[in-house]
Amino acid sequence: MTTDLAGSPVLRPRPPVGSVADAAEALAGAQHYDVDVVRRDFPLLARTVHGGKPLVYLDNAATSQKPTAVLDAEREYYERHNANVHRGIHVLAEEATAMYEGARTKVAAFIGAATPQEVVFTKNASEAINLVAYAMGNAGASGPRAGRFRLGPGDEVVITEMEHHSNIVPWQLLCERTGATLKWFGLTDEGRLDLIDGVITDRTKIVCVVHQSNILGTVNPVADMVARAKAVGALVLLDGCQSVPHMGIDVADLGVDFLAFSGHKMCGPTGVGALWGRGDLLAAMPPFLGGGEMIETVTMERSTFAAPPHRFEAGTPMIAQAVGLGAAVDYLTDLGMDAVAAHERALTAHALDVLGTVPGLRIIGPPTPIGRGGAISFAVEDLHPHDVGQVLDELGIAVRVGHHCARPVCQRYGVPATTRASFHLYSTQREVDALGEGLLRVKAFFRL
């Protein structure tokens, strides 16, 4: 694996999506995808827990492990190039700036952004979503350019019942501040959006939807949502936390206006996420946080603001983390996101089969590998997920238990919490089999 440590701002062209040749290439890529070789890039995966048991890490929807290339990139940055960015004319400042902006360029190319200036670095995806929500809240006091974002009584914000709390709470708060109304799409029994008419209306200002659910695994029909939103002139914000790390993403193809995602779920460091926004929208959007770096001129009475993306990056940014994220993007690009997606698709199908053999296990979410990704929630009879997770942990198997920051989903399906296994590009069929065997041990332990 090679890493561009200098972070040179060279756009890595993404191959065009959708052609027959691409499909054939993706298939070949999947066949050549050697997960055991990939795993060698991730030092943590070699460790053991609880007295020598091999770690089976199935909590990837919470966060991913990091390849050596990412760890090296951060270390190299601090050892050789550390300086503050966008100021100073010394060598280190210029190198640090080039590396930080180089990372932006890599991220932009990775998601098919028209220009790097459409990518705003945030501390995480939650901040990316809050950035849009607060900018909309600030639009009332901004000039006529911000009219597109203005919100008040009678206006509507549309979300869905399967959102992560970070795509619910910011919109609840925005509606409380502005007097707008929050509406949402409910869910079908199978864990899909119930796309009824009448939720999106000509009063809808923005539609905020998750691309792939972190709790149900459902991959949502973005094109359908975009068509409904565009028909009434509403904006679309897509939460890509669980999709950007697992499939090829092209924002132009998706047709959305904003895409929020986190770095640490895509093999990058914690402390960095991103908001992609359409260039014309970011240019018209009022700022969220004020401070250094985000201004054009400042007087004691008032300030004018920098152009995007810097308008939305107040203060010293997360430079090392962004550099690490750039290395993660290089790593994923070298593996090939189509190959990654094919690997995880096969793994998800296998996992659904294995979980289907555990008596009394109920999948919460789509039961087939169609239109779903590799985050699988389930209930084991009426055992509490904490007990399931604890016994699995003693076997070395790391899963997530709880409501996964999606409490309305648990309420919808009548469970206090779920156990969730989630996969990544380094997960293996052996690990899925270990989960299946572990669940049988759990049942035996509690005498079910």
């Binding site: 904490h386 238990v401 409490r407 206090p416």
Partner: protein, 145 residues
């Protein structure tokens, strides 16, 4: 961590179900995992007359509620609070506590749980609910504890 005593209380909880009469009722939630308990307390003077509860949650929180009722029902208030203190102390011992079985009875089984930071609050949930309900019951009766 899952000692047989805990699993026994989980499978066959003591004093479970909500009963009348009662002086105060509280509902406590463990927001990170969704454990919930509704708990009622009836006090008579300085004595804990009854503690009844309904709970959903993991084996640890359910067993803790069962053990709690065994320990405090019928006790003088000051004794019950002292038992609560000893239980708290044990749960913060990171597995190193040497609890007195004469005082804590079946609750000594929870010393293993104190090694698991994520589960300590499961064991404490019914105790926090009990303390809250008891304080409310006393306040209502004009007693200041």
């Amino acid at each position: 961590m899952y000692q047989d005593i805990i699993l026994d209380h989980y499978r066959n909880p003591h004093h479970s179900g909500l009963r009348e009469p009662f002086d105060a009722e509280v509902h406590h939630v463990n927001p990170t995992c969704g454990d919930e308990v509704t708990l009622r307390v009836r006090v008579d003077g300085e004595r804990i007359e009854d503690v009844s509860y309904e709970s959903t949650g993991c084996s640890i929180s359910q067993a803790a509620a069962s053990v709690l009722t065994d320990l405090v029902v019928g006790q003088e208030l000051s004794d019950a609070l002292s038992i609560h203190e000893r239980f708290l102390e044990m749960m913060h011992s990171q597995g190193r506590g040497e609890p007195d079985e004469d005082v804590l009875e079946d609750a000594v089984a929870f010393v293993g749980v104190s090694r698991y930071p994520a589960r300590i609050k499961c064991a404490l949930l019914p105790w926090m609910a009990w303390k809250d309900a008891t304080a409310q019951a006393l306040a209502q009766k004009g007693v200041h504890s």
